[in-house]
């Protein structure tokens, strides 16, 4: 009995030591460095977006430290350091890791985990520590109506996703007035489409059809038949990849031709064209950023904004180096990287690392980088970044809007499904 009691004691002592020793192993504040803390999603359901974000952040930190020479504060150039842990895309881990980053690692700023939910989960903790909290993955506008004082967004709000598409059609076809909205019944798609509906009405469009479909839908025929009857000029729809693909395929099956079709989340993915081939010709989709955008120091000068950061090709090279993989970054990487640049400019503007001062400086900041424009309103909501609209033309993704980012002209109206079946491709 004595032996087993001793063994039990040893096991619990070991557990206790592990528990507390983990803390003593924590690093003291990295002297002479400005530290970005990040509960990253390296595993779990947001792992893909999380890996991209880490690559984007590392790439821009590399640029800041080795090209820019560090952040200038009080006359000194200070390098940036990146401290991240894996939150497994889980809310319980997000708060515990933010707690550690703020109090043990003594980071200077916390970057949120991916998604609106995880961003919201971390916000009360950073607020209680009066720590600047930068959001590159939570697009829900409601985050910024909760009264948080230290949160600032880089990703564009969900309500602005289709503004570019609507602006484009408004400009190139003033006669097109009838828009149909058909989208997935999900928090994200609803937020996107509420914004689209509001903006469409503001531009003078008539919403002639609006309906949602459930997640995991396998047949959209009844909905699309009703949509056909409303005779829209163009359609905004989608939600995720699977339903976006089904949407496009069944539009073709039912011969529903419109001048334009824009699908969120699905249409910008290479797999979309691979699955639909010619049926995807001319289909558009909004994206926060796409490889190929034409944002540059020259464009920034034209619109009267300051430019900072690597150009697009430099960013791509740094991203590949950071991840050690030969992959092209997507918008998750670009927005996370741009957030680093925003922080750099704000610290320099505030000439301080104090969260209150840097938050105030971020409020006044306006600039352009490879990611596009950056500007936030009083609540921290991103208002300066425009989405880009991508269109499939001849099997290639072409950035057609906004004009300062475009790599090609839009094909409008897009070919009909009958024409596409005969091999016609979308050409402007």
């Amino acid at each position: 009995m004595k032996q087993s009691a001793i063994r039990t004691l040893v096991v619990f002592s070991a557990l206790f030591c592990f528990f507390v020793a983990g803390f003593s192993l924590a690093e003291a504040k990295s002297a002479g460095k400005i530290v970005i803390g990040h509960p990253a999603c390296l595993s779990g359901k947001y792992a893909k977006a999380g890996e991209q974000a880490i690559g984007g952040i590392k790439a821009c930190i590399d640029w800041v430290n080795n090209v820019y020479g560090g952040i200038k504060v009080a006359g000194k150039k200070i390098p940036l350091k990146y401290k991240y842990y894996d939150c497994e895309s889980k809310k319980e881990a997000v708060t515990s890791l933010i707690g550690r980053l703020v109090t043990v690692d003594k980071v200077n700023v916390v970057f949120s985990a991916y998604s609106s939910g995880l961003t919201l989960r971390g916000a009360p903790v950073t607020e209680s520590h009066q720590m600047l909290y930068m959001d590159h993955g939570g697009a829900n506008n409601k985050i910024f109506r909760q009264g948080f004082r230290y949160i600032v967004q880089t990703i564009g709000p969900a309500t602005s996703y289709h503004q570019g598409t609507l602006n484009m059609i408004h400009k190139i076809d003033p006669k097109a007035k009838k828009v149909a909205l058909a989208y997935e019944d999900s928090e994200f798609a609803k937020m996107v489409m509420h914004g689209a509906e509001k903006y469409a009405k503001k531009l003078g469009f008539n919403v002639v059809f609006e309906r949602t479909y459930p997640k995991g839908v396998t047949d959209l025929t009844p909905l699309l038949s009703a949509l056909k009857a409303s005779k829209p000029d163009f359609i905004l729809g989608g939600g995720h990849f699977e339903d976006g693909q089904l949407f496009n395929r069944q539009l073709a099956d039912l011969d529903i031709d419109t001048k334009a079709l824009s699908l969120i989340a699905a249409a910008t993915l290479p797999a979309f064209y691979k699955a639909l081939t010619s049926m995807a010709e001319g289909v558009m989709g909004p994206s926060h950023w796409e490889y190929g955008v034409k944002y540059s120091a020259g464009e920034a000068k034209k619109v009267g904004l300051n430019w900072i950061g690597p150009n697009q090709d430099e960013f791509v090279a740094l991203f590949k180096k950071a991840l050690g993989k030969n992959i092209i970054p997507d918008y998750h990487a670009a927005e996370a990287g741009a957030q680093v640049l925003a922080y750099v400019l704000a610290v320099e503007k505030a000439n301080s690392l104090d969260s209150d001062k840097v938050r105030a400086a971020l409020g006044d900041l306006e600039f352009m980088s490879f990611y596009g424009g950056w500007d936030v309103d009083d609540t921290g909501l991103q208002v300066g970044h425009s989405m880009v609209d991508v269109q499939w033309q001849g099997g290639k993704r072409v950035i057609v809007w906004p004009e300062e980012a475009q790599t090609g002209k839009p094909c409008y109206p897009m070919p009909t499904f009958a024409e596409k079946a005969k091999g016609k491709i979308a050409v402007p």
């Binding site: 497994e88 809310k91 319980e92 707690g99 043990v104 209680s128 019944d185």
Partner: protein, 333 residues
């Protein structure tokens, strides 16, 4: 009298563990959020153990009770925030609503599923969380798929500072109390007629029936009790600590799996098991995610397998058999 007191001795290690966690969180800088996570896992395990541990039935729809509890609190806050003078009373109403909703759901599920046994019961409960999520999204009740976000309402009810400390501190203290209360109820059941009846049905349900035990009554009692605690954990950890509810996040089956792992790691049907399981699970995951970010699950899976193989009855199950007949046996059950 002494016998009355000694029967509560097993609570000493449980409460000591919770007190230890509280003191560590309170006194070591930066530990509070980790402690909050560990308390969540312990409370979830303790609540689940009342049903799984005591009956041997595996309920894969368990997270649904946490989900409806979360909605109970969220609905109280979002719907009553505009009523002046209710103040903290809204949170009390939220808890009542959470209890009511989890009780009603558990009665509805129990009435159907508890007629089944073993694998059939497990399969029948798999669909509960998904079904409930689709009901909320499809029928567009409680704001449907858009969910509810209510930090602003909490600020309005309590004031910014008080709301902030509720979300980052007091909600965790409430979880601590729920975990402690769940432990007390577990022990109360273990030491009463209910516990003996549940032990009998866990070992052999048919034999228990033949002996004249109303197995349905006791199964439902354990099921509803477990569901009520799950509802309370959801109302605190997922509504007060995280003032938003998105249906896919609160009806995620992943949490049921975690609860099963915690209970099995610690020892199903033991009082101390969920605490030990919750601590092993939470601490390992936390430190692995810090020291080996991205690879922790690869390492964590074999650790779980090793523990289960070494201690098939869980860590506390092993301790129980090792300390049988000794003075420690009074404390470890």
């Amino acid at each position: 009298m002494k016998k009355e007191i000694t029967k509560y001795y097993p609570l000493i290690p449980v409460f000591t563990a919770y007190l230890f966690l509280f003191l560590v969180g309170k006194n070591i800088s930066g530990m509070w959020q980790l402690v909050a996570m560990l308390l969540f896992y312990c409370a979830m395990g303790q609540a689940f153990n009342i049903f799984l541990g005591m009956t041997g039935y595996v309920d894969f729809g368990y997270v649904a009770f946490m989900g409806v509890g979360t909605y109970g609190m969220a609905l109280a806050i979002t719907n009553l925030a505009h009523i002046e003078g209710l103040g903290i009373g809204i949170i009390i109403i939220g808890f009542i609503l959470a209890l009511l909703m989890s009780t009603l759901l558990s009665m509805a599920v129990g009435a159907v599923a508890l007629r089944l046994r073993g694998a059939y019961f497990a399969i029948a409960t798999i669909g509960v969380n998904e079904g409930f999520r689709f009901l909320i999204e499809g029928a567009r009740i409680w704001n449907g798929s858009e969910g509810l976000i209510f930090t602003a309402q909490l600020n309005q009810i309590l004031g910014r500072e008080a709301a902030s400390s509720l979300m980052t501190y007091w909600a965790d203290i409430m979880v601590l109390f729920i975990a402690a209360l769940a432990a007390f109820v577990t022990l109360f059941y273990m030491r009463s007629k209910i516990g003996y009846a549940l032990t009998a049905l866990r070992e052999d349900e048919d034999a228990a029936k033949v002996m004249g035990i109303n197995v349905t009554k006791y199964k439902i009692t354990a099921f509803i009790t477990s569901a009520c605690f799950a509802g309370l954990v959801g109302a605190t950890s997922w509504a007060l600590k995280t003032p938003y509810v998105f249906p896919p996040e609160v009806f995620e089956i992943h949490y049921t799996i975690e609860a099963i792992i915690i209970v099995l790691l610690g020892g199903a049907g033991t009082l101390l098991g969920p605490v030990v399981g919750g601590l092993i699970y939470g601490i390992s995951k936390y430190y692995l995610s810090i020291f080996m970010p991205g690879f922790q699950l690869l390492i964590f899976a074999p650790i779980i397998i090793i523990i289960i193989v070494l201690f098939p009855e869980g860590v506390v199950g092993m301790l129980k058999s090792r300390t049988k007949g000794s003075v420690l046996a009074r404390f470890i059950i």
